[in-house]
């Protein structure tokens, strides 16, 4: 495993940053880490990259304990609020970070133009970074993260400041990294983006992991049905709530979340048995957004 955490916990006094996080991320994949604002996403990433010290628990990156300098030389990190020395040019910033990664002269001379081209900044490298637009700042941050050709890259909201073209380019970069066997740990709010490229995801809420696994399996394990029922009554709704979770009732239209497709016939039968007239029943495959909203709205889930 490239990332392994065991009951990793961070407390800020009495306040929980994240609690008993158990994660395993395999090699050569894009791992999506999701959660609402303040759920503990950045806290976990900051612990993993060595900015925060865990209160308890342990973690290993690339098979080595947290803080190991050998492992860090193979890890790239793009912080959510990336800032830099504004008086340096893009190229100088890359040289500074190449020296922090202890890359020798020929290696950095070879690698810097490569990453500049990869993030589309080759024509802007000699401009002061302080004059970069928001999108260019994000690109130079990404260039710094991939500079040492890392085996593991943590990207905290990498596409947040980018326009649709920039987002697509970042997506391409992540896919290329995966193709070359690298592991990308992606923290993002852009659920459609995550759904498009991630192999596995974990969802964190209130500091705890509430769901995790292969994306396709997570989406397949729940289904939503939209129904149109004539003569709807409290009795029908009570009966439906024993089969699944009633998400919305709007006149005759009812949205119901079921644990699996197997419960659809029983749902139809329940409506008929309780005197309802079933005009329409349409199963919908859950999107990541549905799953996310569903999990985040639930209270008190456990790791």
């Amino acid at each position: 495993m490239v990332v392994e955490t065991e009951n990793l916990t961070k407390m800020y006094g009495a306040k929980t940053g994240c609690e008993e996080i158990c994660l395993s991320v395999g090699e050569g994949q894009i791992f999506g880490f999701l959660g609402p604002n303040g759920a503990g996403k950045s806290t976990l990433i900051k612990m993993l990259v060595g900015l925060l010290f865990p209160t308890s628990g342990s973690a290993r990156l690339l098979g080595r304990p947290l803080g190991d300098l050998g492992a860090r030389s193979k890890i790239g990190f793009l912080p959510e609020n990336f800032r830099y020395q504004q008086w340096l040019t893009g190229r100088e910033l890359l040289k500074l970070h190449a020296s922090l990664y202890r890359m020798d002269g020929p290696e950095s001379e070879r690698r810097i133009p490569e990453v500049l081209e990869l993030v589309g900044l080759q024509g802007q490298a000699d401009r002061r970074a302080g004059g970069y637009s928001k999108g260019m700042q994000q690109r130079i941050g990404l260039a710094l993260a991939i500079l040492p050709n890392p085996d593991l890259i943590f990207l905290d909201e990498p596409a947040s400041a980018l326009d649709p073209i920039g987002r697509r380019e970042v997506r391409e970069i992540m896919l290329n990294l995966r193709r070359s066997g690298k592991t990308v740990f992606l923290n993002s709010h852009l659920l459609s983006e995550v759904e498009m490229i991630c192999d596995e995801v974990a969802i964190i809420n209130r500091g705890r992991i509430v769901a995790g696994g292969r994306l396709a399996e997570l989406l397949a394990c729940s289904v939503e049905v939209v129904m149109e029922i004539g003569g709807i009554s409290p009795e029908i709704l009570d009966r439906l709530s024993t089969l699944g979770r009633v998400l919305a009732v709007d006149g005759p239209r009812v949205r119901l979340a079921l644990e699996s497709r197997d419960k659809i016939p029983a749902t139809a039968r329940a409506i008929v048995e309780t005197g309802g007239l079933l005009y329409r029943l349409e199963p919908r495959q859950n999107s990541l957004e549905d799953l996310f909203m569903d999990l985040v709205q639930k209270e008190g889930s456990a790791c």
Binding site: L51, R72, F82, L100
Partner: protein
């Protein structure tokens, strides 16, 4: 300083040697005091946010996650600033000596020992500011560092006045303040040694708040060394263990 001395000389006509021997050291002391003050301001103002401002702005997030130890970041910054402050101090010291030499005609030597002590003054403040910046916000660290510097400066003056008025209590206040912030006692040692080396009246050392009634001992210098190391060690410890 230059024009002040020229003005006094023009009014006094041909200045008796005894009067000149009293006045020249005062001008030298004022020059060195001014120089010390400027370097002290540079040391504090330039470094109070060395780490805290980078944490506040987020720059530190991309530095501290690279394969470098926090101690390397801390000491790298300390030695970088120490080098810059030393270069500035050398320039300031030599400028003061040249101005006093040119203005008064006194043969004031550039002694490596005194020059070294002059360069040590901002390093003391640098160590304090570097320690503070690891756990205090930039503004709070600036206020705290200046307060400590002010204690040293005012305490040094109180001690000097104590020597003149033969007040044991005032001298003790000065000694305690020197222990809290030894930069001023280093300055007093430079002034004392330099004036003694010029062959000018040692009595002049006793005059005014910028003079030096007694040279701080070698133990005071040893204490200063320990003081710097202690602040650096504390800063290093705090920075190595703090969350960013």
């Amino acid at each position: 300083m230059y024009y002040g001395y020229k003005d006094i000389a023009a009014h006094a006509g041909r200045m008796p040697q005894a009067v000149r021997a009293l006045i020249v050291p005062q001008f030298l002391a004022i020059g060195l005091y001014f120089g010390s003050l400027i370097v002290a301001f540079l040391a504090v103002m330039g470094t109070v946010g060395t780490i805290s401002s980078e944490i506040e702005s987020g720059v530190m997030q991309s530095i501290a996650t690279r394969p470098v130890r926090r101690a390397e970041i801390f000491l790298g910054k300390f030695f970088g600033y120490a080098f810059m402050l030393t270069a500035f101090s050398v320039l300031m010291y030599i400028s003061v000596v040249i101005i006093v030499r040119t203005g008064t005609g006194a043969a004031i030597p550039v002694r490596p020992g005194d020059l070294g002590l002059f360069c040590l003054q901002p390093v003391i403040l640098l160590a304090v500011a570097m320690c503070g910046t690891t756990f205090l916000p930039t503004l709070a660290n600036g206020v705290a560092s200046f307060m400590l510097y002010a204690i040293g400066v005012v305490g040094g003056m109180v001690e000097q006045v104590g020597y003149l008025l033969r007040s044991g209590v005032m001298v003790k206040i000065g000694i305690v303040s020197s222990l809290l912030m030894p930069a001023d006692s280093v300055y007093r040692k430079i002034v004392y040694d330099l004036i003694a080396s010029t062959g000018l009246s040692p009595v002049s050392n006793m005059m005014g708040p910028f003079g030096s009634g007694a040279a701080p001992s070698v133990w005071m210098l040893a204490y200063t060394g320990i003081y710097i190391l202690a602040f650096l060690a504390l800063g290093l410890r705090v920075f190595s263990r703090r969350d960013i």
